[in-house]
Symmetry: C2
Subunit: 144 residues, 2 copies
């Protein structure tokens, strides 16, 4: 399914659906957590189907472009991603102590955001809400 979407996107763009891109796509959709490019690269390296680091970065860019993947805010400083096809948009609560990420969705929140954009005549194409703090388990233990 995501394969079809990606293939069509590439076609429309005059690009090719190569085996490297296929391998990267399938790895991206092979599980549901967040990942970073280096993760992705090394997981791909372990399999028969290989791709270079450069291709991983390039393909990630394409996946962002066609909306199959979104960039997620970072606890540390490098980029994190998650695939989004088949998932509803959601926001994140990020625990500063244990790194746990809680996903969250609120229809009310989405609506409110929309209306705020409208007020500014801003055409929103994506948004990120990230709340950092302490999760239930870590909450009582205070700060880092």
């Amino acid at each position: 399914m995501e394969k079809k979407i990606f293939r069509e996107f590439l076609e429309k763009k005059g690009c090719k659906f190569t085996k490297e891109r296929a391998a990267i796509l399938s790895e991206v959709f092979s599980n549901h957590g967040h990942f970073d490019p280096e993760d992705l690269f090394s997981k791909i390296r372990e399999k028969e189907a290989k791709a270079s680091r450069a291709s991983v970065y390039r393909t990630l860019q394409l996946l962002l472009e066609c909306g199959l993947v979104e960039q997620v805010e970072r606890i540390d400083k490098h980029a994190h991603y998650e695939h989004t096809f088949g998932h509803k948009h959601h926001d994140h609560l990020i625990c500063l102590r244990c790194g746990k990420v809680i996903q969250l969705f609120s229809e009310k929140l989405e609506k409110l955001q929309e209306s705020l954009c409208k007020k500014e005549n801003f055409r929103c194409v994506s948004h990120t809400l990230e709340m950092k703090g302490y999760c239930e388990k870590c909450g009582s233990k205070g700060r880092k």
Copy 2:
């Protein structure tokens, strides 16, 4: 005022309020836009009061820790900051075409976020809402 806060924070931490830190602090509060470490460094370099790049980065870290400065989401990939003392919290609309940043505050939104955190027993210490899209001027012109 922010000077007092910073000084007390440093003291509590067993650190010193040096002239370099003072220079950096005052530069950070000398105007109200976003900035990045390199900006800050070069502006400081132009003045009599100097500080090294290393000190800029180190001091920025301290300013984050004590809450005088917040990290803002990035359009490109490097870190941006803004000082926050004396400002209400606000969110950002970021134009993907011209880079314009519109600040935004909604009491309703804040309240809603709070209640979502409470539902998850999450103690939120900071949050960032960033909506990316096209501003009024750029909106009609479509995508990059």
